[in-house]
Symmetry: C2
DNA sequence: TGGAAACTTTTATTGAATAAATAGTTTTTT
DNA sequence: AAAAAACTATTTATTCAATAAAAGTTTCCA
């Protein structure tokens, strides 16, 4: 992929973290000191730019996920833990609190992201099913596991409750995964 | 407490489950075949009625909670599980999905409920702290436990994902608590 | 006394009109 | 060739008056 395309998408991510969805095509061009014409040469319209940026971001996640799954030094349960944490870890530079706000404002973009997350979960579900099959973890409905983890992540991101304590978002996430994986252990 | 007061508050709960917050004082009077005058004799205004109804509902929860804590046949960890499930269990007749919708529309009522839930958590936190103290469960930041459970409950309530499966909301809740309590076990 | 309904006043909703912002294009400049 | 700036055509936001709905009060009647 050409470098200008990447830098535009990076700028989109930066602006998103700064202002949520309230930024314009002019903001992007100003930030990069490029002309809007250049942006429109790369992307047909704003929507396509957004979609491409989402795809671009998730490609990195998929990449890391594959590495974890291929890593033979990890046992199955470690893989599961790592694959679950993988998403937010890769996206350390993204303000996920903003993502949940775009559900109403940009439902099309949001549903694209939701779809990606869903696809992402498929891998995790496979690993969980395999671990259940092998008797490594208890036989619990997978949707329950999924919803518990998703709910916890959303809570960690949306609450200010952690702000006061010493606990960071990342530590919370790891503690939570530890508890759940330990709780699932057969 | 007089019976007319109770029946009005019960009607409020029923209407809430039916229509969310979109019901009027006339709706209440029609449902009960009483005059608005009667309602206004018991309650100064709509707000006071709402507050009273919230307090009334949570009183039942507190009641059951006390019973659990006082029950000597239960060990500490069982008490924790039961106290956590206690809230939604008592509120089996309440549509909690509606509750989350009233965050924007009736922030005053919502914050009252949020306050109640917060107070409710204090008991659970005491039990968790005690169990940690006694070395029955791992030393994990209590906010992480709290947010994980709250997040999962909200997810169970807000998602349609369970609708397809055979898993009910209540089963999910119990599975989730099992996993977490098992995961916390030292 | 309390229900039914009529009535007043406050609050919420709607929609048209206007103004502002911004996507996307074209022109000018470096 | 691409940035900067100017431009236009849409979209989106804002305002405000008209309308409707609902809270709260009063009157009447069984």
């Amino acid at each position: 992929m050409n470098t200008i395309r990447k830098s535009i998408m990076d700028a989109v991510v930066d602006l998103f973290n700064e202002k949520g969805m309230k930024f314009t095509m002019d903001d992007i061009s100003k930030k990069l000191h490029i002309s809007k014409k250049t942006i429109y040469k790369e992307f047909d319209d704003k929507d396509e730019l957004f979609y491409a940026t989402v795809d671009y971001g998730f490609a990195a996640i998929k990449q890391k996920e594959s590495e974890i799954i291929a890593d033979d030094s990890l046992d199955l349960l470690d893989k599961i833990s790592k694959v679950i944490v993988c998403l937010p870890d890769n996206y350390r530079n993204i303000d996920f609190r903003q993502v949940y706000q775009l559900r109403e404002k940009y439902p099309v973009v949001y549903s694209r992201i939701a779809g990606k997350i869903e696809t992402d979960w498929e891998e995790t579900e496979k690993l969980l099913a395999e671990a259940m099959e092998k008797g490594l973890i208890k036989n619990v409905p997978i949707p329950v596991i999924k919803l518990t983890i998703e709910g916890a992540i959303e809570k960690f991101l949306s609450t200010q409750e952690l702000a006061g304590t010493q606990v960071t978002y990342e530590q919370s996430l790891n503690s939570m995964i530890d508890i759940i994986m330990n709780g699932l252990r057969a």
